[in-house]
Amino acid sequence: MSVLGSELASHRFASGLAPGHLDRLAAIASRIEVAAGTRLFDEGGQATSMWLIRAGQIALDLHIPGRNRLIVETLGPGDELGLSWLLPPARWQFGAVAQVGVSAFELGTAAVTGLCESDHELGYQLARRLLGTAVARLQAARIRILDLYAAPSHAVGGTS
């Protein structure tokens, strides 16, 4: 089912893009529904898509031998899923599974890259948004490293 630029504009990631850019992105986007428990990708797989989550929840996970599967982070409505495609070797660093039913816009990254190369202003706008996503996740990861909720003596920098 085709996607309208105005629909994309309602997503936090695409909000603020020029109407022409929204239309060009919408032309390569598809609307998908993912059932709970469906795995979108596995660690090490080729990264060829990105998703703009509209509803539901997706867990980024990692299998650790002897510790089963650990959830690295969860993503929800308004979030963008998929950053590994941006840089070589374009393989997924983590896996992704729908924890509940998920609605999203899916965009093939070859087409996204093509649009960016043919329209540098669109490329700049997308790069800013993707960098914002990466920075927000980096900052969140740094906060979690601080282990703020640990008992004072166990926290990083805590006293005895």
């Binding site: 996970d61 089963n68 959830i71 308004g78 703020l148």
Partner: protein, 272 residues
Amino acid sequence: MIDCRYPVRYRVSSRLEETHDTVTLTLEPAEDPIAPCRPGQFMMLYSFGVGEIPISVSGAPGQPALTHTIRSVGAVSAALCAAQPGHVIGVRGPFGTSWDHADAAGRDLLLVAGGIGLAPLRPALLAALAQPGRYRRIIVLAGARSPAELVFASEYGQWRERGASVDITVDKADASWPGHVGVVTQLIGRAQLDPHLTTALMCGPEVMMRITGRELTAAGLPAARVWISLERNMQCGIAECGHCQLGPLLLCRDGPVVNFEVAEPLLAVREL
């Protein structure tokens, strides 16, 4: 008139283990009770022979019994956490400022908690839930270290049934955890807040409140409508000893609930 300088004896009537290191105690007066407390205020709880520490009230307002949720992190808190039904504890208070969210009527009331910071927010939440229709939405965003370290976990379902939106996130979880994994600030972006129609109350580690406060104000929420609960070394409770000084504030009197507009510049001063 009870003199706040002297403890009033209360007897532990119930003890609930919230997590491996946190308990909720209900205390009934063993003599003339202290004055009623407001959500956000704290008491000085005295474990006789061990010492006294400040602990926020965590129960619904207007009850004769006191409810406190305590995490065992030192000698006094460990003694309080170990107190069994029938044990007598000294109580002084109530002290300090309370959550000020009268302006939230008709708007969204956002409560952001980190770890045991949910305890001081619980009385405000219960008061809000008892007034259906007073707020446009009641939104609870809470973070914890792991699912096993969530406090009041058995109540989230009731809060949702009574109309609150409750989103919980943890720092670490395995695949059996159906909730969010990440920091509580990440939930803010997904909550679709209208900054012009939101009043926020926050309690948790100071770094978490600093970051969350900045996130909320960056999203357009006026700092004057963000309230945080701060803690320093409260001792006397009556603004005489000065141990809880934070710049121009004595937090046992001017806090623990402080407006973010006032608090933010002070939180950035390393010497404080």
